[in-house]
Amino acid sequence: MSQQHDFHLMEDRFRDELREASVIPPIAVWEKIDAGLPKPVPFYVRYKWPMIASALIGVVLAGSIWSLQSNDEARLSAFKVHPSAFSVVSSVSDAESVKQYASNSAGDQLTASTSKRQGESSSDDQVLVSAASLRPKVQSSNTSTSSWGNKQLSSPKSIDQKSSLNNRASLAGQSVGSDYLPSDKVSTISDNGFVANMQQSMKAVSSENMLAEGFSADDTYRPKAIPVEPFTYSDDELLQLSARNAGNKKGHKHINVNSGFFMGPVFGYQFNRLTKQTSSPETDNSFLEYRPHFGSHYGLAFGYDFPSRWGILAEWVYSSNEGQRFQENFGDYVVNKSIELDYMKFPLMVRYQQAFLNKQGRNPVILNLMGGLQYSLLRSKNTFINDELALVDQKFNKHTWGLAAGAELDIYATKQLFFTIGMKSAFASSTSGFPRLKGREGNDPMSIQTGLYARLNYRLVPIKNKEKQPEPQTFGQ
């Protein structure tokens, strides 16, 4: 028998006996292993920063929603203005009748004070009862009646007696003189139904009309109102938003605010992850350890918001830095590997809006939920090993498809200009595998991105929206 044959027999014997051999180790070995393993970390410590960030975002969002929703009621109340608040009487007797009217009304207390304008003769004595003096006390409940509060006028002026007669008629509630306060809807100041009627029928009251009706330049009884700034939302549009948020969905389904075409630059920062460790089938990198990879992206965004709550958003992300970092530990020798991919991305998403009123001003804050498709084109690929460019030929998908979803806040500075901050997640897969999550081999590479972004938007306000803005209304003419 040849020696080689002997060796084979011997090797077979060794292989058969030793391959499946078992030898029980000492107990102390487990204790050493236990000491060498990382201690179990509670999830609230492991995910400390994501939990803190989520809690902060939740508190900010909840607080914003609560304050904005509670302010909607105040906004509605701000427009529940009794027409008598604008009235001017031209004689003392009229002033007395105002007092009488007020005292006969149940519920709210009105005060009427008279004063003379400086320089006027007694025959032309005009008693000006300002809206402020006629203002009822604002109550905290939802049934509180009108609050003047939010109108601020420039220098008021007096009117003649003729005009005042019209106003007195309106005071009695028999004839309105204006076309947006039907007399049958006018009731007592303290009537709760009045409030609801006012919500349905009231139109914007322009400050110019109040000026025309004559208010004294005397500061003691001149009512205050906020200035109507250019390029901000009109009272009517804000009221539409408030009413919609208050639940009048059918009545205000189509709203012309926040609609139209917009565009602007976008910049973001995201966390990236490649779900497959191997860059080529021949390479076994199963012992590589993941390391987090972050990258930035920038581009242009284009969108169109319809008068309903829906809108579309398309982006041209010129550069999106993605990839993955790995580490392999050989004991005292550590290899760091970094895959850097640069994609050009084209997301196309649908937006769904929920508008809120900004407590600080007159411009809304829009919360958008988004979802849609995304196409990516690989622009460049580089692999770094220990921070040095590695000349390796690695295969990555040049064309990928995927889905994207997110939420963003539009904060309006003016009607044309608004700032957006948002959060978006997306995943992409090879075109051969899409829409399957895994390819035929069950191992198609996928990439996932999650991150934050900011966008500065400019909206082109359509002409027809301007035409539909409410015209200034006048009282008593």
Binding site: M1, M10, F14, K32, I33
Partner: protein
């Protein structure tokens, strides 16, 4: 499993005996084998989420231990120079029977080999790697791998013969 100590201990109990045998084959003493076992299981638990499900889990764990042993060899050992196979006379006086040998004996023989011979013998004979794969793993030439294996075979055969002769002598004297 990650950081679940109880689950890790159960897994250790299931596989520790087999893996310790693997470590003993690659080590020349129990202390070194215990160190190898400890290091191997720490690597298993730290990388357990990387198991893809392709192949048996025991095979995946065994591969980790083999790689760990090979790393130890790469760091601490130096290979013997390549020897011309034709110049080496691997001849023995007679055939060495192995049927009477137990696992402990075979293990002892393997442990008596030097580090280089032992590693290559384990990788080629027990684990089933080719000389090409061994040369890539150990960063040596194929010729070195072949010559070292031949040397390992010869030495093991010699140990078996000596052990057999010793057994016969003991039997004769009793």
């Amino acid at each position: 499993m990650h950081n679940d100590r109880q689950a890790q201990y159960q897994l250790y109990n299931l596989l520790s005996a087999k893996m310790f045998a693997v470590c003993l084959r690659y080590s020349n003493d129990r202390e070194s084998a215990e160190d190898l076992l400890q290091e191997g299981f720490i690597k298993v638990f730290n990388n357990i989420d990387k198991y893809r499900g392709d192949g048996s889990f025991e095979g995946w764990v065994r591969r980790i231990f083999v790689n760990t042993a090979v790393e130890h060899f790469r760091k601490s050992s130096r290979m013997l120079p390549v020897v011309n196979l034709d110049a080496v006379a691997f001849t023995l006086e007679y055939e060495a029977p192995t049927h009477h040998l137990h696992v402990e004996d075979l293990m002892r023989f393997v442990q008596q080999l030097s580090t280089g011979y032992r590693t290559i013998f384990n990788l080629y004979v027990i684990e089933g790697f080719s000389h090409k794969e061994i040369s890539e793993m150990l960063n040596i030439s194929e010729g070195t791998s072949k010559s070292q294996l031949a040397r390992a075979r010869y030495l093991l055969q010699k140990m078996i013969v000596e052990d057999d002769q010793k057994t016969k002598t003991n039997v004769a004297t009793t």
